[in-house]
Symmetry: C3
Subunit: 318 residues, 3 copies
């Protein structure tokens, strides 16, 4: 039990704390004023009087729903059987129609406002775009199935196809890329990039939605992989962690000058690129069936069926 003088001490500490809170809190209004004022600084960025854009929460919700549709039964909380499959998918597709068309409309209106264009057709265009996207699902499922098979064939540590679908970050990143790329080709603004950055955050794999990638694609481990906006990748290609398919060095003002030009390499069918390899520039074409060794740094093309290895760098043993 506390002694009376201890109780008094505690009470005084409490009182002092309360008083200091009030004293400091009284200064908040003037702090808020300065913060509000700083929002109007022309040099700063704000998004006031603008259209809402897709929040990360809504994008995560859409991707979760799509994963349930693309890999039915794998990520559902309830068991799916032959009988309830139609109900389950029908319900999911209907919900997705609402979720996706809403975010597509937000993204479109945001861009219209940015260019001060009137935006009377955004609603209709968003429904049209959503339907077109939904119609692409059966084909997307087929392509993703080739990706899962490629993972099983390429990774001796894989125990089963199920394990790959459930847990491989490479498959998640590729699934999100294929979704984002479909929206990108439909010229939906903002949304594809927000999706791909979500996958980047979850997996460490950064695939720009603009890249074009063939079937049976596999990325093992994946952390640090970067695939640039104008990269073209053929069928049956396998990458490991830390591979960069990037642009050549850019001058300081590159952003404005090179926007929308081809800047990234071409990887033909059946190529394997080992961990940490860097392949740069639009002029660089890796011929079919080539193998690029780990840590190789390339800016020039190689013909088909080439093996490119780093010359064993001399090691110093002490």
């Amino acid at each position: 039990m506390k002694r009376p003088d201890e109780i008094k001490d505690t009470m005084e500490v409490c009182k002092a704390g309360f008083e200091s809170r009030t004293r400091f809190r009284d200064q908040l209004p003037s702090v808020v004023d300065r913060i509000v004022e700083s929002c109007h600084d022309e040099k700063c960025f704000e998004h006031i009087d603008a259209e809402l854009i897709p929040s990360q929460e809504s994008v995560i919700g859409i991707l979760k729903r799509l994963r349930e549709i693309l890999f039915p039964g794998y990520f559902d909380q309830e068991s799916i059987d032959r009988m309830n499959l139609t109900y389950q998918l029908g319900r999911s597709v209907d919900l997705l129609f609402e979720m996706l068309s809403e975010q597509i409309a937000h993204s479109m209106r945001h861009e219209c406002l940015r260019y001060d264009q009137p935006c009377v057709e955004c609603v209709q265009l968003s429904y049209e775009g959503t339907l077109k996207f939904l119609e692409s699902i059966p084909k997307m499922r087929l392509v993703l199935a080739t990706d899962v098979r490629a993972a099983y064939e390429g990774d001796p540590a894989a125990q089963s196809y199920d394990e790959i679908v459930f847990s491989y970050p490479g498959i998640f990143a590729i699934m999100v890329y294929r979704i984002a790329h479909q929206l990108f080709t439909q010229q939906i603004p903002l949304l594809p990039r927000i999706m791909s950055e979500y996958a980047h955050s979850v997996t460490g794999i950064d695939i720009h939605p603009g890249a074009r990638i063939g079937e049976s694609f596999f990325i093992d481990h994946g952390t640090g992989v970067v695939i640039g906006e104008t990269t073209v990748i053929g069928k049956n290609v396998r990458l490991y962690q830390g591979v960069t398919l990037g642009a050549l060095s850019l001058p300081k003002d590159a952003g404005e000058r090179l926007r929308a030009t081809r800047r990234h390499p071409t990887i033909e069918d059946d190529v394997i690129i080992y961990a940490g390899a860097t392949i740069l520039g639009a002029g660089c074409v890796i011929g079919a069936r080539s193998v690029i060794g780990g840590n190789v740094w390339m800016t020039e093309s190689v013909p088909p069926d080439t093996k490119v290895l780093l010359e064993a760098h001399r090691l110093i043993y002490k």
Copy 2:
């Protein structure tokens, strides 16, 4: 205030929007039919009529609970003192018993179904496995304490042991690895891999649950670290970001042929491996007390007490 013709415009836009929604939504049933049909394509993957497997949510819940048990007081929402410690731990262990045995049973049934085996003992085996796992906790706590100490000794930026437990991604990845490895050695399917891929997603550190790793293990920064399934690591080893302990290059059909064989290196006691180093192949043994320099690429063994450095590559100055 809006003029009457503006109001009329707004109403017409609303009406047009509503009509287009109905028009596009009417096409959903046929889209759903094609999606359902595509689920029955033999080339695709579905998980229909299958056992539910551990969801990421349940795995995150189990790991959170385990972290509270392994590092008592660090991650609890309420203060823990000597008196309520037993109640708190008792309650946690009891809840964990239910959570873990349920997910172990799911994982087992999933595998049984995959091989069309009858599964009458899954319930009993799941309780047995859970109890065995819980019994391993005191030993696991001791080993994790050596890991925390190794982090403090190895990182001059560390201010206190507490900071390491609270915030170091390396410690989180190692904790999840030690949990997943225990389940892996108990031959629980699926669950260990889902756990390790969760840690990979959070930390960028990819440790396969099958690897064998001694005490006082420290990974600094960690993003991009890959430790393969059959790696063996001794005591008191320190790794930095981007280190790969991997397999030698694999032919296209490697998956099937090399499953379950030894493919990864051996790292003996007291070795330090700096950032970006790559060590590959089952034949590669790094002798005790060796130091491997940053970015070194090795496929051959070195005797104990060796320093391996990259020969300073010539730099071009312009």
Copy 3:
């Protein structure tokens, strides 16, 4: 419908399952006892009878709130216009005052207890520290605006400033760094490091809150970037994925000996450092306007206006 013998089988399986659950669950108390006992092992870490520290949940909440204040309108769930801006920001700042002062007080009390110091002023100091932090927001907003501009100028794939604020991991990591660094310079313990490790987890970019970084800073892609505690970076610097600004190799006991000494490089104004480059040591100064090529490994200074490239390593073509 099930036949009677099938029903009997099902019932027996259920009964067996229930009995085995009871049998295994009966062993829990002794397991708990051993776990509790292991908490008192002197070699282990516990956090019993200690102050609560900031949970990751509270840190995420604080950063989310701060992001809404630093980039108003971008991440809000409701539209912000000129009229409601003051209300919205006022409310946010008031809530933040409570959230942040509470966690600062926790962090301070935690450190006081660690050194067995009496802690009578923690409450007052936490309000004082929070107010000082809030007063730094207008300046922080200006600096972050230069970072967004640097991203747009440096990345040809960027479509708009909005896209950068919404989705670029580099901007998120830099924002969290600037927040954490402000708290670090105010000598708030623990909280800055927990913040920077959260950003590390989300983006793969690991910036220690102690680093000093000038305006117009851009990190592209970013996965694997490590910026050490005593690094100094000038204005208008651009980094790519996998760049390490680190310390030279450390002996086993380095932790204790080198704590609080300068260990990391200096990067002067207008420098570009390409992917995978590694720059190590307090003695290493990269002169203004220099360009460091991809994968370069440096431990020595270069004068201003230098280009450093890897000598094209010989590749072996087969």
